[in-house]
Symmetry: C2
Subunit: 205 residues, 2 copies
């Protein structure tokens, strides 16, 4: 009857994996610690040994999400003929991840925004901005973009792509295909930065 050993062996990983599946299927609200325990054939108290409480589990899911997303973005940043291509590819990678994992993205950001989120989570979640900042600075030096504070410009690109990602994930880009919106957004950003953004010029060193 009980061909299961007393110790699961990889409970933490099994819980994390199943939690991500559940979240993608039913959202965070559909996640129940007790149901999760049932799913992996373990008693309802077992998860507490690996995650202090439900929020700790969700935090771990969010962290794993950021890590896999960052990998995709890093890859995209290195593929492309010129700087503009690479910039567009990063945007696409971000939004595509969002479209493929909409519920996970929601968890990732709502968790990061949580007042007592961990430093690790916040640092991991901010890597995309740093990447954008480096690309913009490089393009400015190459003369492809007008001068301007890279930090501010990177933030502008990040918030814009973030909005695209969230709305695309929610299927809210009514009347436009997701690809069109991504391309139009990155086009607009690049064109704006190329012609010069007044608000980014005022920063004094």
């Amino acid at each position: 009857m009980t061909d299961q050993p007393y110790h699961h062996g990889k409970l933490r990983e099994a819980l994390l994996e199943r939690a991500m599946e559940t979240i993608e299927e039913a959202g965070v609200d559909g996640l129940s610690l007790r149901q999760l325990a049932r799913d992996v054939n373990v008693s309802h108290g077992a998860p507490a040994k690996h995650f202090r409480d439900k929020q700790a589990l969700i935090d771990a899911v969010a962290l794993a999400g950021f890590e896999s997303m960052n990998r995709l973005i890093q890859d995209a940043a290195q593929s492309g003929e010129d700087l503009r291509d690479r910039f567009v590819n990063v945007g696409k990678a971000y939004v595509h991840f969002a479209v493929e994992h909409p519920a996970l993205l929601t968890v990732m950001y709502s968790t990061k925004h949580h007042p007592d989120s961990s430093d690790e989570l916040r640092n991991t979640g901010v890597q995309g901005i740093h990447l954008a900042q480096a690309m913009i600075a490089e393009a400015q030096e190459a003369g492809a973009l007008a001068a301007g504070n890279p930090e501010t410009l990177a933030m502008v690109c990040f918030v814009s792509l973030h909005g695209t990602a969230l709305l695309a994930a929610g299927g809210q880009v009514d009347g436009n295909s997701v690809e069109d919106v991504i391309t139009a957004t990155t086009d607009t950003l690049w064109a704006g930065m190329a012609s010069g953004v007044p608000a980014a010029q005022l920063q004094l060193p």
Copy 2:
């Protein structure tokens, strides 16, 4: 002892008001139907007469949020010296609303993104885009912006401002003031649209 009449009289309004307060204080997760009933001195079953279930209450909160936000945006669209001013003012109004009601904004959009959201909610939530579209078309006719599909461009502006709003509401614009990010974002968008967005030109009538 019981100086309260059997019928509350304005239970629905009282519940809605208190629910919005609770959400702003503790987020959606902090909202409990039973606690809500206690807060307005009513039995735990009473709310069901006005809201079928918890989601129906949250939907009503979201709708009220969109309505008050739309009012602010409409006002902003009519104040400004020129078209560019009005455009920037709309963006500011949107983001300011988000910063002042961060939890409410989250509820508004997560509810709108919900697969079975009401038509009324979706229509109300989309008014901002239509406004942006009209302003862009007007600016193109006036020669202030380059030609391009207003629908696509409006979507670009909307997603960008939406991202700004969400991140500003979450206090995630590290290192930059919210005002700077708003200004830089609207500047970038306007500059991009003025110099021409390739992806928005390809649309054939």
